[in-house]
Symmetry: C2
Subunit: 431 residues, 2 copies
């Protein structure tokens, strides 16, 4: 297909899009003209599924009418609320149902996973991350290292793009793994980098590290609900994610974790425990059960009871993913394309032509190209960006990446001509 | 005052109660006769403040209408949502405003506090707890010990009641502290024990431990919103709590933590970090700020962004506490009294006469007596209890204690004749 910069072409793509009606399932903020904004901030906060309100109100009603009995008496009992999210999430990340759990926040879950999987010894104590990583991951990993009495200067290895390149070559990651193989304990990477939009080759990196007995975990904050994942088959050891971005579960919503079956069923793995990780059959024996007996699944890493109001909207969102046929269906049904140019003179400034942003659920093949756009836009848009032309029609998050623009577009179905990116000192687009 | 078992006497106390109208501020589950139940499960899940619905719906509206911009654009901006809870909570626990933070769940917060304050050395590595403790605390502390390569058999000291006694004598706790002083690292106790209802002498225990350089932390799950607290003046090192019990914030609501000012402002303290614990002035420099710089307050232990829907109802509840004049006012305005007898032959069976349960906000002086009731009832009510007489009018949680019955009664204002406790094989009171 030959792409065109004409609006007519975009409208035609829209009309052919089998998922176009999914736009109606979300509340779109309105512009000054009362028309829905084209929302480019799903990387920061996903839009509200319209069905979320009824679910939240149902739980308010349960609280009001049933009090404590709502833990057991309703259609989706509070006591096992996480179970209602299990199957659709397993489908979304390519997991067995016993491998996924919703709990806490992303970075808390990263710490909990590290408590299990980062058990440094004198000989094997290093952690490999990418740079730039989202700072919460950086802070978590560095403080994990310090927590064990080590120094990040010795224990932290950073994989970086080569000079004048914008994404990290998989071969360079593999080289670093091999170079540090004897001392490497854990690899922690993003699935999709928050800044460059790079989609990492999860399967290849995982295999390369595991060949040396290294544990591999992923932060899927920008990957889940965005790109197809097959965590089980890829043999990933653990993964963590938030659900307020592409999973549209609301601000600060409950986060998720994946623990591969071979670990999830291993009750002997060390962990930082809480009572909801204990076998439900003995959980309410309370102090009569002073020995922690973990559930033989990812549930065994649960700490406390499910946060109902931070989980309820996720039920609405996951149902939409199922309705749409999941990530694989999205990848099949949709095309994405992005073209751009960049002034060589100001490589980190957003003088870009971002000709097309597709609404695809899928990831592009051209991640190298996409990442250049993302890198530049993100650098500029530590403040809000303005886009020439349709700027009144857009809403951008505080740390936008073009990769993100492209990939959260299941939230609206409109193939838009973006226009030419003009300057970095932008006015705020939504008052 | 001489208490009487007549209903007339109870109604008279009600009519004189200056806080009686506060019952109207909560949704009370209805019985089969459509009259409000007398809710005795605030120890498990606090009732829903009527004002919570509007606040939750306001946040749903913000999400729908503003999307990501709600982080900065509303009356209670999401980005700093925790700040709206700070002052009323500081009043409730007797803290400076920089000493309190809402985040995560109770047991996650306990782990985070232990990551900072439990830094075992070869000589100083022991932890003192009470027995029975809530199992989540037990699991947390035991796995903390194992996490550091130690064995709970060597490192965990348990303070227990003496034989044929039901609460732990403060002098025995102090003796244990002195006995293990050289090796003791941390004391972790409940403020009010979940099982016996014992109110610990926080101030005296804290002083006794700190005299030997021991850190002292409290789990306030059953104390906050229940008894007056002066954490700052008592010089407590840290405390954690959930807010779905007496704070009425909803199922699995956001939990809290207290870090004493002398620690909270110490940026050099080790901790497991996340980006929301970083100084807000540089937080959104993201990867350009690879070194974690904690906020110089309890906020510095934050990990992730605030979970808005797990926090919103707490705004409604904290406003009620302020309306009522706080815990101290409650203690002044209310009386509590409990009388009981117990068959000596079946000391652990609930053949009890629980003559009065007061609606007091305050704690009783007679905790020794109260705890006997609590112990017996709790043992029996690992299943739901029935109470003779008014049983249709009551709703009990799964692990009820009489102490709890007494102390959550700010949620209803009715001085009730309970009747005689009949047997442990009870029908469920609310269908």
């Amino acid at each position: 297909m030959i792409f065109s910069a004409e609006e007519q072409f975009a409208l035609q793509l829209d009309s052919e899009d089998p998922l176009r009606h999914f736009r109606q399932k979300f509340h779109l903020p309105l512009g000054k003209d009362d028309r829905p904004l084209i929302y480019f901030a799903g990387n920061s906060l996903g839009l509200m599924p319209k069905a979320a309100r009824a679910i939240v109100e149902e739980e308010l009603d349960n609280w009001a009418k049933l009090g404590v009995d709502a833990h057991h008496a309703t259609g989706t009992p509070w006591y096992t609320y996480h179970e209602a999210l299990r199957e659709p999430t397993a489908r979304l990340v390519g997991a067995n149902s016993l491998e996924v759990i919703y709990m806490n926040s992303l970075t808390v879950n990263l710490h909990l996973m590290m408590a299990t999987f980062y058990r440094p010894t004198k000989s094997r104590f290093k952690i490999l991350m990418e740079e730039p990583a989202f700072p919460s991951d950086t802070y978590a990993i560095k403080t994990q290292i310090v927590h064990h009495g080590l120094d990040p200067k010795d224990a932290l290895i950073l994989a970086r793009p080569r000079k004048n390149e914008f994404i990290i070559r998989t071969e360079d990651i593999v080289d670093l793994i091999q170079k540090h193989a004897d001392q490497l304990a854990v690899v922690v990477l993003a699935g999709v980098n928050f800044f460059t939009g790079q989609l990492f080759d999860v399967e290849r990196i995982t295999a390369a590290a595991q060949a040396y007995g290294v544990v591999v975990g992923f932060d899927l904050a920008h990957a889940i609900g965005n790109v197809p994942l097959s965590l089980h088959d890829w043999n990933v050891d653990f993964a963590v994610w938030c659900s307020y971005k592409y999973l549209n579960a609301g601000p600060g919503a409950v986060a998720g974790a994946f623990v591969h079956q071979r670990h999830a069923t291993n009750r002997k793995l060390p962990r930082l425990a809480g009572w909801f990780g204990n076998d439900p059959n003995t959980r309410f024996r309370l102090h009569l059960e002073p020995e922690f007996v973990p559930v033989s699944s990812a549930d065994g890493w649960q700490i406390s009871n499910p946060p109902i109001f931070a989980m309820a909207p996720l039920r609405a969102s996951l149902a939409i993913f199922d309705d749409a046929g999941g990530m694989e269906a999205g990848a099949r049904n949709r095309r994405c394309e992005m073209r751009f140019s960049r002034t060589q003179r100001h490589p980190r400034r957003p003088y870009l032509t971002l000709q097309y942003v597709s609404r695809s659920l899928a990831f592009c093949e051209d991640s190298g190209s996409a990442s250049i756009v993302a890198q530049s836009i993100t650098t500029a848009s530590l403040r809000i960006l303005a886009l020439q032309g349709d700027c009144e029609r857009m809403q951008l998050g505080g740390h936008q990446s073009a990769r993100d623009c492209r990939i959260f577009l299941h939230e609206f179905s409109r193939c838009v001509f973006i226009g030419r990116l003009k300057n970095r000192n932008a006015k705020r687009l939504v008052a």
